[in-house]
Symmetry: C2
Subunit: 217 residues, 2 copies
């Protein structure tokens, strides 16, 4: 096993380092973020750092970099206080990747990349019709880092569009059954295989594989 220190990391060729550092931290929480601007133009962009902040009230966070390609998404979120997260499914992952191209202002990634807008009454952000798990959020908090230009957007979940049959008896949503894709680095996409769900861990007790039934319909 090789040991790589600070000095070696800082001396790496820039693109090599970007790819290396982006891929070592683990698989990512991938979502397409749907927004709409003041002129009514829609935007769809890929974000890969979505995280759980709380269940009651239900909050989700996402890491954003306002100085680059993500500027339009952030501006739209601030304007409407609304945005959507839409899961990337395995038969649309190339189209999802294509949303990261730098389209001209006013050209919607929905039409350009082959996704269909879908709306919920009274909610000012477009969902992705082709996605299987869709979350509508109301903007709540914008947190800057001191270290660099990265910021965090926190939203409260207001709407969820989901197939009822992927919600288990205990509330667990089977991402694998809905063909949700995960990503690594800047450009790698993966499907998944469930190893198991495990019982609540207690000291001195062997963890067991859970077998929670799907709801009957």
């Amino acid at each position: 096993m090789r040991q790589i220190g600070s000095a070696e990391i800082l001396q790496m060729e820039q693109r090599f380092r970007t790819t290396f550092i982006n891929s070592i931290s683990g698989f990512k929480s991938l979502q397409m973020v749907g927004t709409i601007n003041s002129k009514g133009n829609t935007n769809l962009a890929l974000f890969s750092s979505i995280f759980h902040v709380g269940a009651n009230p239900p909050y989700l966070g996402m890491v954003v970099r306002p100085d680059g390609n993500e500027h339009e998404t952030i501006q739209n979120i601030m304007f409407n206080n609304a945005y959507t997260l839409n899961n990337v499914i395995s038969n649309k992952y190339k189209e999802a990747h294509q949303t990261s191209a730098r389209y001209l202002a006013g050209e919607s990634e929905f039409a350009a990349c082959g996704f269909t807008e879908e709306y919920v009454d009274g909610f000012a952000a477009p969902f992705v019709k082709e996605s299987k798990i869709k979350i509508g959020l109301e903007f709540k908090e914008y947190l800057p880092f001191l270290l660099n230009k990265t910021k965090i957007v926190i939203g409260e979940i207001k709407h969820i569009l989901i197939d009822d049959n992927i919600i288990g008896e205990d509330g667990f949503v089977d991402l694998n059954q809905s063909n949700t894709v995960t990503s690594a680095g800047l450009d790698a996409y993966y499907t998944t295989n469930l190893l198991a769900r495990l019982s609540y861990a207690k000291p001195g007790k062997q963890v067991e594989e859970l077998n929670v039934n799907k709801k009957e319909h």
Copy 2:
């Protein structure tokens, strides 16, 4: 497709809602965090919200909840300014899940769960010998949310322990080849299958599958 609104979410039975909201946001960035306290006792804990903050300098963030089980990890990070991230591999995922049990203060999850401590000279946090990708971080920033008690810890990467043969020619680390596991919800673990790495997206251009060779050794 079913539409679930705010009112229905807030009325869900508490455990159902926790499981539901924790699992809808996508696959998670799973890491075991290794620390050591002022008495020299080691701690190993599972965190599932690790995110990329920057490549130069190399920063990683992680979401923490200081009022619960994670209090010891955070205290240790603050005391030593040092912590490690260690990937969860598929033949050790049950042992990794077991580290989330509430062990007594002073009882190390390393020994209790079957992991081996490994050290790098001059760095005050234990790595996990059994992991394949290990990252040593220096604590940099602690960011509180206004909305709830969740906080964010940011660190700078100081050491990386990794098998040279999983680093590609362009710096890409193949998490799948190192048997890295991802998670969903509070208790589900998954292996992955690479769909493809995709070329840099440009408007009007079809994305292509990348074929970057592994380094020759």
